[in-house]
Assembly symmetry: C2
Homo-oligomer: 122 residues x 2
């Protein structure tokens, strides 16, 4: 199954961004990215790591898609986030939708730098 | 956050492998891969796509890890599977654990061919 897997590893993310530390905010952001891109969610799971030494730790989550998946992991202590949007092309080329989802996510975290990769799958 | 993302895109998978079509079998396989590799699950979500024209369709799922995530998508109609195991190195180098998990998954599907990639993340 041919597909496109986009990754973006973000550094210097804007401190205080709710989705860095709050599970509900990350969930809402991911679902917004999926909806904006026109992708089809079929399931989701999110997890918040417990605070350490009174400092918030990261949140992580995945939206399963009819087209494959979207995943986000945050490290607020490092101002860092990693993103994955992987789409298969079963019912047409979903590359533009994957790009749109990544753009929504990157914009929300406002990073100083984004290291992006494209991997052809299948 | 430095990490390693392994992907494997499998073709010619062994027909009749339960994890190609059965959600419980795929879930058990993923959790076995995680446990064998010594990775730490913190959540999971699996989804089975409904049959089409009486033929089984794929199953898909993710295990969220303390180290990041493991994802599998199957296309039984194409004898194809794609795998992702992504680990961060927050508490030490998890590369060997990621490799071990991928090996468990590949062995279960017994593909004729596996297209594998390694992506340094972070």
């Amino acid at each position: 199954m041919q597909g496109l897997h986009l990754t973006a590893d973000l550094s210097g993310c804007r401190r205080g961004t709710p989705a860095l530390t709050e599970i509900d905010a990350l969930r809402a952001l991911c679902l917004q990215a999926v909806a904006t891109a026109g992708l089809q969610p079929v399931g989701e799971r999110f997890h918040a790591f417990p605070p350490e030494n009174g400092e918030p730790r990261g949140v992580t989550g995945v939206v399963l898609l009819s087209e494959s998946h979207l995943a986000v992991h945050t490290w607020p202590e490092l101002d860092a986030v990693t993103l994955d949007v992987y789409v298969c092309h079963r019912r047409g080329d979903n590359s533009a939708r994957a790009e749109a989802a990544v753009e929504v996510l990157i914009a929300a975290f406002a990073p100083a730098h984004a290291a992006r990769h494209r991997l052809a799958r299948g």
